[in-house]
């Protein structure tokens, strides 16, 4: 009989776009050209730039999910914020971003111990989803209230 954690793992690892109700990381093909170029230059992505930019249909790399740092950078850039520092950890990350000429904020996403069983890919998805759905909105609220 499969353990509960195996069942949860199976539930969380479906091809669904969500994990425990949180959005998974987008595909590389969905990223802006600027972020792709940054990721190639930074060594996060390997492969011919031309095949990545524009995400040629059926291209295996373009259909992969964005690395966590790239996905966070892309998401924040979409909201007009520039990532200054990204601090990864196995089950957490912190990101410092700039929201004004000299104004910065550091936010983090931390996985609870109850999700220790997740695979590295699912962990990255959960950290991303938790950041964009839970952590960042509360930070944005505080930033708006402060400014």
């Amino acid at each position: 009989m499969p353990s509960i954690s195996c069942i949860i793992h199976a539930m969380s690892s479906t091809l669904d776009d969500t994990i425990f109700g949180l959005p998974r990381r987008p595909r590389i093909a969905d990223a802006s050209a600027g972020t792709i170029l940054w990721a190639v230059a930074g060594g996060l992505l390997a492969g011919p730039v031309g095949a990545l930019v524009g995400g040629a249909a059926g291209n295996a790399i373009a259909n992969q999910q964005q690395p966590l740092e790239m996905a966070i950078r892309e998401y924040l850039a979409h909201h007009g914020f520039e990532v200054t520092f990204f601090y990864p950890a196995p089950r957490a990350f912190k990101v410092t971003f700039r929201y004004g000429p000299t104004a910065y904020w550091t936010a983090e996403s931390i996985m609870p111990d109850s999700l220790l069983h997740l695979s590295p890919e699912d962990s990255a998805d959960w950290l991303y989803g938790n950041f964009v759905k839970n952590e960042l909105p509360s930070v944005l609220h505080r930033i708006r209230r402060a400014s």
Binding site: G43, T84, F85, T96, A103, Y104, W105, T106, R142, I143
Partner: protein, 222 residues
């Protein structure tokens, strides 16, 4: 993949790694390795730069301790941006983060006056982190190359001048002279037996008392 292709890919990779290793990831200034490369050129007389400036942030540990290392990193980043805008671009200088909160700037002799006119901006670097208004500041020392002194010794002179600048205040830039050598700063430190506070200060050696007298926190004699 042919052997030639594999070799050229490997060479391209080595070039990428080498370039990345020359850039400091927190500030985009030069890395310690890039500084070592410049050091070699200066020691071989092949560099255009003949003024070595050393600066470090004042009370940086306090910034880290009171406002987290995240805020400290932002402070380092802001310093790098200001050095880049005001010194590297405008004065055609080179700048490096040597490690921690220590920066080294290389100037050409004819840009020293302009450098001194803008360096006070490094005495009040403002930024906010998590809606807290923060400030950091640098004091600097510099030394001219005489063509006979090694880079390492020149950097030591600039550091000694920086220690004097720190006593004089934020944003101060002090030139190393023979007097700096004859009357260097020494560090005196005492722990108060009454309140436990540690007091540390830098004092010019010739004027220095044998030891500190009173605790500035509680007023008791050490």
């Amino acid at each position: 993949m042919s052997l030639d292709e594999a070799i050229s890919r490997l060479e391209a990779l080595i070039t990428e790694v080498r370039q990345a290793s020359l850039v400091d990831e927190k500030t985009a200034l030069g890395s310690p390795l890039a500084l070592r490369n410049e050091e070699r050129l200066i020691n071989e007389g092949k560099s255009d730069f003949n003024v070595i400036v050393f600066g470090d942030l004042n009370d940086f540990k306090q910034l880290n301790d009171e406002h987290t290392h995240d805020a400290g990193d932002v402070g380092i980043k802001r310093v790098g941006e200001i050095i880049n805008e005001m010194i590297i671009v405008d004065l055609e200088a080179k700048a490096f983060r040597q490690g921690g909160d220590e920066f080294v700037i290389l100037l050409k002799q004819d840009s020293v006056e302009r450098f001194l006119s803008v360096s006070s901006a490094l005495g009040n670097i403002l930024f906010s982190h998590k809606d807290q208004d923060l400030q950091t500041a640098m004091s600097l020392g510099y030394a001219f190359s005489d063509g006979k002194t090694s880079f390492s010794d020149l950097l030591g002179r600039a550091e000694a001048a920086c220690q004097i600048a720190k006593v004089q205040g934020d944003g101060v830039c002090v030139k190393w002279t023979d007097e700096t050598k004859l009357n260097p700063l020494i560090r005196l430190s005492e722990r108060c037996r009454n309140c436990g506070a540690r007091t540390t200060c830098n004092i010019a050696q010739l004027n220095a008392p044998p030891r500190l007298k009173c605790c500035p926190s509680c007023g008791e004699e050490f």
